[in-house]
């Protein structure tokens, strides 16, 4: 009984929020809460935690359970200390081994599975990034469980909400698996905050099966950006086919983005035509963003594109076609030639 009381306090806040109707159902929840134990896989980029991992921690936090962070790679003492300050994390498992630096699923998945089995975790969270998308299905297969991909909300420890059909429908999914392997949509959960003191957090060495990977990392070519990063920017200026060429894209879009202090995005049409780098693509097949302001220039608003940006707070659009579908979702629209209006807007914003 003492044990039950101790661990159930974690669930109490969650319960109050949900304002459960009957005592019976709240008791049921108390008991089920006791067994929840979450592991958040923390992704590193250049020795720093990526933003989407902080969102994954927030998602784990919604279960009202204890959260263990998981970090593997070389030179991980700094990121481990950083992770120890994340609100909600009680323990961090670290594996110091440079084999894991590139996040190859072939050796990272067995590593993760060994530590999941040892720690008895019930919920495994990672961001729905390239890393998470590559790693987590392999983890799920090794555990023989289904994966719950790209979730945007959590109903309870078994029930999750995720967009399907390019965001044209929102499905509520119940999992019957013992272990839930989950990837989280970064824009759906605000990043977990840091606390000043992280000293109470236990940092522990994990088990390292040190599996071989039949796949080796060769090289990478990442776009160098001196503007805010697309995934995390509070404002995004995005250009489409209406820009007509790479030169015009750079001439019209970049100064407007700078005037707003915004990141630059692009539609698939603009990327396919070579106007912008494919890392800038917003849409179902590119990045999903949800900034405060999403400013569309010369974008018609195909469902492929809308899937990547329709959760933005404010959508604004400039397009010469008054019937373009983008105007059906835009909070503010301007019908006109972007080559006249955008430079004017850039100039007036600069003042």
């Amino acid at each position: 009984m003492v044990l039950r009381l101790g661990s159930s306090t974690l669930c109490l806040k969650q319960q109050r929020l949900r304002s459960l109707a009957s005592l019976a159902s709240s008791n049921a929840r108390l008991i089920s809460c006791r067994s929840v134990s979450a592991l958040a896989v923390l992704e590193l980029k250049d020795g720093k935690l990526v933003q989407s991992s902080l969102s994954a921690v927030s998602a784990a936090h919604k279960l009202g359970s204890s959260i263990t962070g998981f970090i593997a790679g070389s030179n991980i003492s700094e990121p481990s200390k950083e992770a120890a300050k994340i609100r909600g994390i009680q323990k961090i498992i670290t594996i110091e081994n440079d084999s894991y630096d590139k996040g190859l699923p072939e050796n990272f998945a067995p590593l993760l599975v060994s530590n999941i089995r040892k720690g008895g975790y019930t919920h495994i969270f990672a961001g729905h990034t390239t890393f998470g998308k590559s790693l987590m299905p392999r983890v799920a297969a090794l555990l023989d469980v289904a994966q719950i991909s790209d979730i945007t909300a959590i109903d309870n420890e078994n029930t999750f909400v995720r967009p399907v059909y390019a965001g044209n429908a929102i499905a509520t999914i119940e999992s019957s698996d013992e272990i839930k392997v989950i990837t989280t949509r970064a824009t759906a959960f605000p990043p977990a905050e840091y606390e000043a003191e992280g000293s109470k957090v236990l940092i522990e060495n994990g088990v390292d099966p040190n599996s071989n990977s039949p796949v080796k990392w060769v090289s990478e070519n990442l776009a160098k950006l001196d503007r805010p990063s697309l995934a995390t920017a509070s404002k995004v200026v995005s250009g489409g086919r209406g820009l007509k060429s790479k030169e015009e894209f750079d001439r019209v879009i970049l100064p407007l983005a700078d005037a707003f202090g915004a990141a630059v995005g692009a539609s698939r049409a603009a990327v396919d035509s070579g106007y912008a780098d494919n890392s800038l693509q917003v849409g179902q097949t590119g990045q999903v963003v949800a900034p405060q302001l999403y400013f569309c220039v010369g974008i018609s608003g195909a469902i492929q594109h809308l899937a990547g940006m329709k959760d933005s707070k404010v959508i604004a659009a400039v397009n010469k076609d008054a019937d373009a579908p983008i105007f059906q979702v835009a909070d503010v629209g301007l019908v006109g030639d972007l080559f006249d209006t955008v430079p004017e807007l850039t100039e007036k914003l600069g003042k």
């Binding site: 998945a109 392999r138 404010v314 835009a330």
Partner: protein
Amino acid sequence: MTALRILVPVKRVIDYAVKPRVNPTQTAIITAGVKHSLNPFDEISVEEAVRLRERHTKSPSASNPKVEEIIAFTVGPPKSMDVLKTAMAMGADRSIFVEVPEGEQPESLGVAKLLAKIVDRENISLVLAGKQSIDSDAHCVGGMLGGFLGWGFAGQASKISFEESGACTVEKEVDGGTEVVKGSLPMVITADLRLNEPRYASLQNIMKAKKKRVDKLTPEELGVDLRRRLVTKKVVEPAARKGGGKVSDVDGMIQRLRELGAI
């Protein structure tokens, strides 16, 4: 090196240009009477398999290995036969079809298990799948299959090359750019949008595809339990945005953005 035996898993999905509608009971998407087609990412993987064969035909070498056979696979309701015909019209040699009752599309875990069995039966050395299907958007089958087989996995491929015998170099789309990995065969690779531009099947090839072999198998024959672990409790339309607030000039735009607190 030995010749490649390629498996291309394909899926019949609601056509990408159709806006899906939720049924009145909010339990699923309406699929009856809606145009379906081959999942766009699977089209790309079929195309890549066919191009690999053509590369060898034009100039055989270690970097253009021989493609012995291309087998298309699908699991789905009876109408899924359509997408196998499309894959064979594009150049797949034959097909394997696991038929399930209408409305019982298995989830990624079950599909990956079926594929692992097919890989064994058909002595496959390369699986080329699409990175995700545009209906469930789960992005799981390729990665899970790699796990079940213990093979190397390269997801979101934008370029596939064979520089030397038995090794495959894959350029992948990653957050912020591209990454290159090199793996030894056998391997599972999933196709991203930029891998290639799929061909249209010619009328002649569509006619030829009708004569190609389709083997039907059941999940029981393959020893796979397709019972779902994930149950959809509810499907709703996303909250609609109400647009239409147009302004007449740039000053109006700036003023409105200020009112909305966006700047």
